[in-house]
Amino acid sequence: MLENIHVALWGVAILKFLAALLLLLAFAMLAQRRLLTLINLLAWQGAVLAIGTGLIAFMTNQSELWFSAALTLGLKALLIPVVLRRLLRRLKVRGDVEAILNIPLTLLAGIVLVIFAFSLSQPLSNLSSTVTRGMVGIALAAVLLAFLMMITRRKAISQVVGFLAMDNGLFFTATSATLGMPMIVELGIALDALIGFVILGVFFFQMRDTFDSMDLQHLEKIREE
């Protein structure tokens, strides 16, 4: 599927580097306490994602991937982070994120997850002859790390950030691991992400009206006893 290897050689190198970067950012988010920084990191992830997509577009010269790269850049790297910062200010959310699990333990769990992801994706990457060997593992690791972050955070916004980070991981898988999903699908995914984000915004304001706080424990009332 990849005929011009000479392009691939350095291309793949950069791609792998980007993947590593993505993973690193995921870890950083896991370790991060302050919400604003968290959002910045999210933005960086978006940027990395966009670059990766663009790179693949360049390598495999699939023209529509350019489009999706631009979309990613606009949506994930710029729009969403900006709006999130705005929200933070508008809703006057305290800067700190209190984690359920303390940071070192979380990081430890994260490392275990990464190892697990790699071991899981080992046979797959052996199977696939494409440049993308190993990408699946990193993508999976990123997704799982985001998941872990959602589990360990107490603030609604930080959960949303985790959710978006997971989305990034998925997107990375979609683009770099499989060298681009069908266009409609990507469009659909992007669309959903957008709507979802809008709805989130609506939510936040509703939440503030009802509880005037963004803390999750207001959302832990419904239970069986």
Binding site: L120, M150, R154, E224
Partner: protein, 660 residues
């Protein structure tokens, strides 16, 4: 192949259904309509009986119509066995419907509407159970029967007690149905996918293990309906709260549906029995009989008492069935036939006298507005005819000659006395003990039923309730049932000859044909009983003594105030209260009853509370266990979204890890 009986039966059922719908539609118009409909229903019952009689003679015929899935047909068949129970159902339904006509006329229209529909669908359900020829049809009919009777039980649904009764009833019925379904599935094997035609289950050759599994499952399922220990609890709850005619049908006919199922499965489907099955049924039956009769004697509510006595009678039938199975498993078919005849005969008897008694208590309820025995008394003076018919029922159920109850009792004891023929030594030695257990049951049942009659109809009225004699329709219904009891008592030979085809179908052999007025199941030397001669001698002696005494010493009677050892003051509270009548039993069998005294509303009084031991021993612990588990389950849903996320996270990781 004679298509007539089956078509007749199906026609009758169809007619019942239409009557139900018609009743639903027309109930509003006027009492007459519903009355008329009930009369037609009764006649229709006779039609069904006729179909049953024809079925006893003719070879069975098959009838299929396309079911929900083409491979799942609704299929019906009418063989002598079904025929016998159709006769039972038809006759009882006829009498009960005559009764219902006037019993329900005071019902408000909407209630009557619903009742017409439910009553008739109940009858139809029972009929279909008897006609069903594959597992699917059978189970649907079975559930319809359960549902309809459930709705009838909760007719007066204001009282929470009734709801509890209804719930217990439907729950146990449902579990029973599931068990039956499993049993049929095992029996039919792959054929179940074609709806499990009964013909496919005939003489099914299963491995001993699976055969026993099928036996136990089906037995549990049917026992749940028959009200045997320990799944009987619904029975004393449901019978009292249902309207009297319904209780009559449930007790008289519906319980027998379970017996029918057992007969079909144990004799026709499970061809090669293990001996312990018979013993198992026998022991359960005996236990239920003793338990039932003891608690019947302790009740103070007429219908509860009758309900427990139904349990006792089912127990006796089970004893006979078990004995028959034991004999059958040793190939002693002649003896099996005798025991089975006893069972069938008792089923028939029970349908009639228990129906009679329930109808009677319905009349009492109408006349006095209560069925609590501690408020009744001396009704024989205000409703003499009802009292007379009830007396016949009472004598019959007490198993006294020359009425029908005695015949089945006699046959059963004869069967027991034949147990030495068994090759297995200890078994043949132990069985007579069971016989004396049966005798004890019968004696105690006499105790219970005498209490029933004596307290309610004899003595002084315990409260002023201004009772009145029941209506002509009600009385004629009771008369019909009483007549049936007497007939079954007087001409057992003829009845037994009629039932031969059933025995032939079940065990390929029957009793020797009975000749004339004599009832000699085995041989004249062995044992003989002639109710006709008996009653003749009785009447002769009676007439003679009356004649002579009045001829020679016939001074007119003088009416005086009751003497009672010359006590100056004497009021109705000085006679036995229903609880007092049972007091000796309560004392002797105290461990069984676990009776507790509780202060009554009136500080001068105590009430005696007698609980169901099975609740304490079986059901409460079960319920507690279930609630505990559910308490643990609820912890899953403890509200924190992060925890929920953790669940799915862990699920994912575990699945991935396991797959690797």
């Amino acid at each position: 192949m004679n298509p007539l009986p089956l078509n007749l039966a199906l026609l009758a059922l169809l007619l019942w259904l239409t009557l139900g719908i018609g009743g639903f539609a027309l109930a509003g118009w006027s009492r007459i309509v519903s009355r008329l409909i009930f009369l037609v229903t009764a006649l229709n019952g006779l039609l069904l009986t006729m179909a049953g009689f024809l079925a006893l003679q003719s070879t069975p015929d098959l009838f299929k119509i396309g079911g929900p899935i083409p491979v799942f047909p609704w299929s019906f068949r009418l063989d002598p066995l079904s025929g016998f129970f159709l006769i039972l159902l038809g006759l009882l339904a006829a009498a009960v419907s005559i009764f219902s006509g006037s019993y329900f006329q005071s019902l408000p229209v909407p209630a009557l509407r619903r009742l017409m529909l439910q009553y008739h669908s109940f009858l139809v359900g029972m009929g279909l159970v008897l006609l069903a020829d594959n597992a699917f049809t059978f189970l649907v009919a079975w559930e319809v029967m359960a549902l309809a009777s459930y709705f009838l039980v909760v007719t007066e649904h204001e009282e929470p007690g009734n709801q509890r009764a209804g719930f217990l009833y439907l729950l146990i019925a449902h579990l029973g149905a599931l068990a039956i379904l499993l049993g049929f599935t095992i029996l039919a094997g792959p054929m179940i996918l074609q709806g499990g035609a009964f013909s496919a289950m005939l003489h099914s050759t299963l491995s001993p293990f699976w055969a026993s599994a099928a036996f136990l499952l089906t037995f549990f399922g049917f026992a749940a309906k028959a009200g045997l220990l320990p799944v009987h609890i619904w029975l004393p709850e449901a019978h009292p709260v249902a309207p009297a005619p319904v209780s009559a049908l449930m007790s008289g006919a519906m319980l027998q549906m379970a017996f029918y199922g057992m007969l079909r499965v144990d004799f026709l489907f499970l061809h090669q029995e293990a001996t312990w099955w018979g013993l198992f049924i026998l022991i359960i039956g005996l236990a239920s009989a003793l338990f039932g009769v003891l608690f019947a004697a302790a009740q103070t509510d007429m219908k509860r008492l009758l309900a427990y006595s139904s349990m006792e009678n089912m127990g006796l039938i089970m004893v006979a069935l078990g004995l028959a199975l034991v004999f059958h498993s040793y190939g002693l078919n002649a003896l099996a036939a005798l025991a089975l005849m006893a069972a069938l005969y008792h089923a028939l008897n029970h349908a009639f006298f228990k129906g009679l008694l329930f109808l009677g208590s319905g009349s009492v309820l109408h006349a006095t507005g209560t069925v609590s025995m501690s408020r009744l008394g001396g009704l024989i003076r205000s409703m003499p005819q009802t009292a007379f018919f009830m007396l016949i029922g009472v004598l019959a159920i007490a198993g006294l000659p020359p009425l029908n109850g005695f015949v089945s009792e006699w046959l059963l004891l004869q069967a027991f006395l034949l147990s030495p023929a068994l090759p297995q030594g200890t078994l043949s030695a132990v069985l007579p003990l069971a016989a004396s257990g049966v005798v004890l049951t019968l004696a105690l049942s006499a105790y219970a039923i005498i209490k029933f009659y004596g307290i309610v109809f004899l003595g002084q009225a315990r409260e002023i309730l201004h009772p009145h004699e029941s209506g002509i329709w009600e009385r004629s219904a009771m008369a019909l049932l009483a007549l049936l009891c007497v007939t079954l008592g007087f001409i057992p030979g003829i009845v037994i000859n009629l039932l031969h085809p059933v025995l032939h179908e079940l065990i390929g052999q029957s009793l020797a044909p009975q000749t004339g007025i004599w009832l000699t199941p085995i041989s004249a030397q062995r044992a003989s009983y002639s109710p006709l001669l008996f009653i003749l001698g009785m009447i002769l002696a009676l007439g003679l003594s009356v004649f002579l005494v009045s001829r020679f010493f016939g001074r007119p009677l003088r009416r005086v105030k009751v003497w009672s050892c010359g006590f100056p003051l004497h009021n109705s509270n000085m006679q036995d209260s229903p609880a007092g009548f049972t007091q000796p039993l309560l004392r002797i069998f105290a461990p069984v009853y676990q009776a507790q005294r509780a202060p009554a509303a009136d500080p001068k009084q105590w009430v005696l509370q007698i609980g169901e031991p099975t609740y304490r021993l079986v059901y409460r612990p079960l319920g507690r266990a279930a609630l505990w588990i559910s308490g643990q389950m609820l912890r899953l849903q403890q509200g924190r979204i992060t925890t929920y996320l953790l669940y799915s996270f862990l699920t994912l990781l575990i699945l991935l890890a396991v797959w690797r």
